[in-house]
Symmetry: C2
Subunit: 219 residues, 2 copies
DNA sequence: AATTATTTTTAGATAAATCTAAATAAATAA
DNA sequence: TTATTTATTTAGATTTATCTAAAAATAATT
C-alpha cells in the first residue's frame, strides 16, 4: 500500500499519541498536526477505508495491525536519518528533527536498508529513542544521553552514538564500555564537560562531545 | 521563494530541455513530465507569475535568471545525492536516479552543504555529469565513464568515482592517476573488463568495477 | 435531570495539480 | 493560397487535503 505524505504524517502522529494514552481523540490529533478537527475527521475516514485504523465516530482511533506496521516503518526511517545527520553530517542532535521529517517520506526499501547497514545497524537514535529494525522490532528500554543526566545519578552505559574508530579508541583509553556503571559527580557549564566516577576509582572528566556520544540507562 | 515539488519538477525539466534546444515547447514538457499539454500550460502560467520563466503563449518558454538559479540548486541536490548513494551506500550507478528524484526535494540548505562536505565536494556525479557548487557554478566539460568509451579512443583520466582508500591503492598499483592519458585497446564481454594502454607501455587489464570508478574526458 | 460547555462531525467552499474535450492558433502540404 | 494537420490553449471537471460555519453528539456542571 502506498501512502501519501499527509497520510504518513497522520499514521505517525496516531502511533506516538496512542503510546501514551489509549484511544486517540480527534482534538489531540488536530493539535499535534497543527490542523483543524474537521480535517482530521475527513482523514480518519480515509484511513479507515484503507484499513489502517479502527475508527468509531466520537470514540477516537487506534491503529490496526497494518497501520502499526506502516507507523514503525516511518519511525524507523525517521530515526535512521536522524542518526545519519548527527553521526555522519555533524548536525547537532537538537537540530535534526525537521530535516528528518522530510527524509522519512522518501520511499525506497533498498535505500533504508542500505542506510541502516552503512550506519552499522544503530539501535538508538541521537535522542536515545530505539530504532525499529526492518521487521518493526525494537528494544524497549529508554536510553538517555549522558549529557542529560542529573548530578549524583548512577547509570549504566548501554550504547554509543557511533561506531567510529576514533570514538572506540577514546573509550578504550578511558576504560568505558557497554555495561560500565558510573556516577555523575559534577557538570561544568563552561565547556559542558562532565565529571564522572567509575566504580570506586578516581574521578575522570568527559568532554561534551564524548558525553553526547554515550547512551546510558537508569539502574 | 518556496516551490512545491511539482513546480520544482517543471523547473528542472525546462532546465534540461533548454540546454539542448532553444525555447522549450509545451509538448516537449508534457512528454518529459509524463503529463498532458493542458496541465503544462496551467503550470507555465503559474511559474510566469512567480517570474521563474519567460512565457509567451504558443512560443514556448525559457527560464528566467531566477528560474535558472532554482534549477541549478535542484540539479546540485540531485547529483550530490546520486554520488552519496553510489559512493557511500553501494548502489549501482544505474539504479540511483529514481531515489535521487525524491531526495532532491528535501529542503534544507544546511543539509545540502553538509552533505557536500561529507562527500568531499565531488565535481561530478556517478554518470559523469558536473555537480553545481552552492553558487550554481559547475565545470563545463563532460566526463565519461571509462566503461562507456569505444575501442581505439584516447582519453585522459579526470576523475574517480570515490575517494576510498581501496580504490586509491589499486590506482597507485596500476600507475593510474588524474591526468593519465590512455587508449582503449579491447573490451571483453564476459566480465566487462577493459584492456588499456598507458603511453607506450604494455597493455593492462582493468576490471569492470575499476572501469566504472574512472571518469575520463576526450582529448 | 436539565442546562451548559466541549468535542466531534457534517456540509459546503477553496487551492493545487491534474485530467478530458473542445476551440483556437500555427505549421505544413496540396 | 487554401485545406489539412499539428500544437497549444481554454473551459470545465476531478482528486486531495485543507478550511469555516453550523449541526449533532457527548461530557460536565449546577
Amino acid at each position: 500500500m502506498n501512502l501519501t505524505i499527509a497520510e504518513e504524517n497522520y499514521i505517525k502522529a496516531i502511533f506516538h499519541l496512542q503510546q501514551a494514552e489509549g484511544n486517540v481523540s480527534t482534538n489531540q490529533l488536530a493539535a499535534s498536526l497543527h490542523t483543524k478537527p474537521a480535517s482530521v475527521t475527513d482523514m480518519l475516514k480515509k484511513l479507515t477505508i484503507k484499513s489502517l485504523l479502527n475508527y468509531e465516530p466520537y470514540q477516537g482511533v487506534r491503529l490496526s495491525k497494518d497501520g502499526k506496521k506502516q507507523a514503525l516503518n516511518i519511525v524507523r526511517k525517521h530515526r535512521l536519518w536522524e542518526f545519519f545527520l548527527v553521526d555522519k553530517l555533524q548536525f547537532g542532535w537538537d537540530e535534526v528533527h525537521e530535516v528528518a521529517e522530510e527524509l522519512e517520506h522518501v520511499r525506497s526499501k533498498k535505500l533504508v536498508d542500505k542506510l541502516d547497514s552503512f550506519l552499522g545497524h544503530p539501535k538508538f537514535d541521537p535522542h536515545g529513542d530505539p530504532i525499529p529494525d526492518s521487521n518493526g522490532n525494537m528494544v524497549t528500554i529508554r536510553q538517555f544521553n549522558l549529557i542529560d543526566i542529573k548530578i549524583s545519578t548512577i547509570v549504566e552505559v548501554c550504547g554509543v552514538g557511533s561506531q567510529s574508530a576514533e570514538l572506540l579508541e577514546l573509550l578504550r583509553h578511558k576504560n568505558i564500555g557497554i555495561g560500565t556503571v558510573l556516577k555523575i559527580i559534577r557538570k561544568f557549564d563552561f565547556d559542558h564537560s562532565v565529571e564522572i566516577q567509575i566504580k570506586n576509582s578516581d574521578h575522570i572528566n568527559i568532554s561534551q562531545q564524548l558525553a553526547q556520544a554515550l547512551f546510558v540507562k537508569l539502574i
